[in-house]
């Protein structure tokens, strides 16, 4: 009791205030984390955990029933034994051909719609429509287009370009390029919007000054427009390179890797091994290889297409 009264000799209000203040401070410090908690838990479980656990599982043997067993590089050695994996990586790299096509196409589209002609909003919307169409329906529609009895062959025959039907998806030399064209068709509008935003941010007086100086349309495009949108070109090149490396849905819906494994891509191989064959370690090893390629390509992009500062 004496000790308590001794304590009470010290200013008691101050003591209580201290405790209250500490609790208040603690609550104030906790508050932001309570707001952040749902997002952090979900990101942790479905975005960060897959990267960490996936990187670990790639080096194990794992079949759902027993705990994963460390096997070192065995899964990667298995990959090297599989000729289909080589086809997949080769196709993923071949798919990069789409990157310059997307940049060129999207810049042309953006320039074409960067004005206030009557009806221009309609055209912008029309070019964007494929982007807001579900990939499954895109796949079904293009399946009809590419069918040997399908629309594209019918049009070409009508134009007297061909006599015999072309096997757009059934010819193993053509199939990958046919799917690439669909990826292009469905992606252009998205990149067009990015370029359009960047074009509209170019100060008007820059263009006007160049006109006064007698610069031709062509000169203005190369000397003003292109340098001004260079950051967007870099961004779009990186984004389209990465998405070309990770093409999966179009393949899954249109060809399932066929004919004769000619349209396997890196990520479709991972899907096929994981979700169809339930060989998750091999699938994850394959997806790690794809990720390494992605990192390398992103690095190359930043290295070589750097916006020029002056």
């Amino acid at each position: 009791m004496t000790s308590e009264s001794a304590l009470s000799n010290a200013p008691p209000r101050h003591f209580r205030n201290d405790a209250v203040a500490a609790r208040a401070r603690w609550r104030r410090n906790l508050r932001p984390w309570l707001f952040l908690a749902p997002a952090l838990v979900l990101l942790g479980a479905f975005t960060f955990w897959p990267v960490l656990w996936g990187s670990y599982l790639a080096f194990t043997e794992y079949n759902f029933l027993t705990p994963p067993r460390w096997v070192g590089l065995a899964n990667f050695e298995d990959l090297l034994q599989d000729p289909v994996f080589f086809i997949s990586i080769k196709n993923s790299l071949l798919y990069l051909l789409i990157v310059p096509a997307i940049q060129l196409g999207a810049i042309v589209l953006a320039v074409l719609v960067n004005n206030s002609l009557p009806g221009i909003r309609f055209f912008r919307a029309a070019f964007y429509t494929p982007v807001v169409t579900s990939v499954s329906v895109v796949g079904i529609m293009w399946g009809w287009m590419y069918n040997e009895q399908g629309l594209i062959n019918a049009v070409l025959r009508w134009l007297h370009v061909i006599n015999d039907p072309v096997g757009w998806l059934s010819d193993d030399r053509l199939a990958l390029f046919s799917v690439m064209a669909v990826t292009l068709w469905r992606g252009l509008g998205w990149y067009m919007v990015l370029y359009l935003a960047s074009l509209q941010a170019i100060p008007k007086d820059l263009e006007e000054a160049a006109v006064l100086d007698g610069a031709s349309r062509f000169q203005r495009f190369w000397r003003i427009t292109i340098p001004m949108i260079m950051p967007t070109i870099l961004l779009c090149t990186v984004l389209s390179t990465l998405s070309a490396m990770k093409v999966l849905e179009e393949i899954l819906i249109m060809t399932k890797g066929g004919p004769v494994s000619s349209t396997y891509t890196g990520l479709y191989y991972a899907y096929d091994q994981g979700i169809r064959a339930f060989n998750f370690p091999r699938a994850l090893a394959a997806s790690m290889v794809v990720s390494v390629f992605c990192l390398a390509l992103a690095w190359l992009n930043f290295r070589f297409i750097r916006p020029r500062h002056r």
Partner: protein, 269 residues
């Protein structure tokens, strides 16, 4: 009209036709009931037009339940995305606290990570949590998106500090401020987030197709492939199904275009 303008329009129309070609043909085939569907150009002019194919598709597959699943999944995804993203954005926009920069970097990092391959491990996780073949399993992994969080963060940063101070001086709790001051003032950005989430969720294919194996749980974007895989479904019926699948997203898009054109800008910055 000058020759240059004419040429400009000619190019715009030509490209629009390439973009629209598969859509126009699918629509014409779905509406028509007679003739060779692949004949060119006659298949673009539907003969004996009727809505029979649109009725038939409801008989051929359980389109009504696909529709319901899509509506259910989209509605809850939108509601929870807005809530989760704005809750996370509020402290990032308005509080100073230790770890803020780290959280910010962490969320930014999700845009750099190769998340396209996450579906493999997420399938394992979902299986262990009992989320396979549940709509919750479809919804959960998509809720906390970096783009959504950044959109809401930008919105909250624009709100004047005076309003918050006044509310706090009146003794309002932080939750009250969040729901009654911040959210109402961020309505335009919430609208943009709602529209973009609606369209992406409606169209989402890969993850729902991985986590749902039972046909009766599938959303339209996945179920429509069941129809095209069904032996004996006619092209016209599948075309009608395809039109019904994409129509809602396209209608939303056409009425809210500017959100897409501006929303992307925000995402890039």
């Amino acid at each position: 009209m000058s020759l240059r303008t004419l040429l400009h329009y000619a190019m715009l129309i030509a490209i629009a036709l390439v973009c629209a070609f598969p859509f126009l043909w699918t629509l014409a085939v779905a509406v028509g009931t007679e003739g060779n569907v692949f004949a060119f150009p006659s298949s673009f002019l539907p003969r004996k037009p009727s809505l029979d194919n649109f009725i038939e598709v409801f008989r051929a597959i359980d389109l009504a339940s696909y529709y319901w699943n899509s509506i259910w999944i989209t509605t809850w995804t939108v509601v929870w995305t807005v809530l989760v993203c704005s809750l996370a954005a509020y402290p990032l926009a308005r509080y100073r606290f230790r770890g803020r920069a780290a959280v910010f970097t962490l969320i930014l990092a999700t845009l750099m990570l190769p998340t396209e391959v996450n579906f493999l491990v997420n399938f394992i996780t979902s299986a262990q949590l009992g989320l396979v073949n549940t709509h919750l399993g479809v919804i959960l992994p998509t809720l906390a998106g970096a783009i959504g969080i950044f959109m809401m963060k930008n919105a909250f940063e624009e709100i004047p500090q005076d309003l918050l101070d006044a509310a706090r001086a009146d003794g309002a709790s932080e939750l009250y401020i969040f729901f009654r001051v911040m959210l109402p003032l961020a309505l335009p950005q919430i609208g943009a987030l709602v529209i973009m989430t609606t369209v992406t969720t409606w169209n989402n294919f890969l993850w729902p197709s991985v986590v749902l194996t039972k046909s009766e749980l599938m959303p339209l974007a996945v179920g429509i492939l069941e129809l095209s895989g069904t032996f004996g479904s006619s092209t016209r019926v599948i075309a009608a199904g395809a039109i019904l699948t994409i129509a809602p997203a396209l209608i939303v898009f056409f009425f809210t275009q500017r959100f897409f054109m501006r929303g992307m800008e925000g995402a890039v910055k």
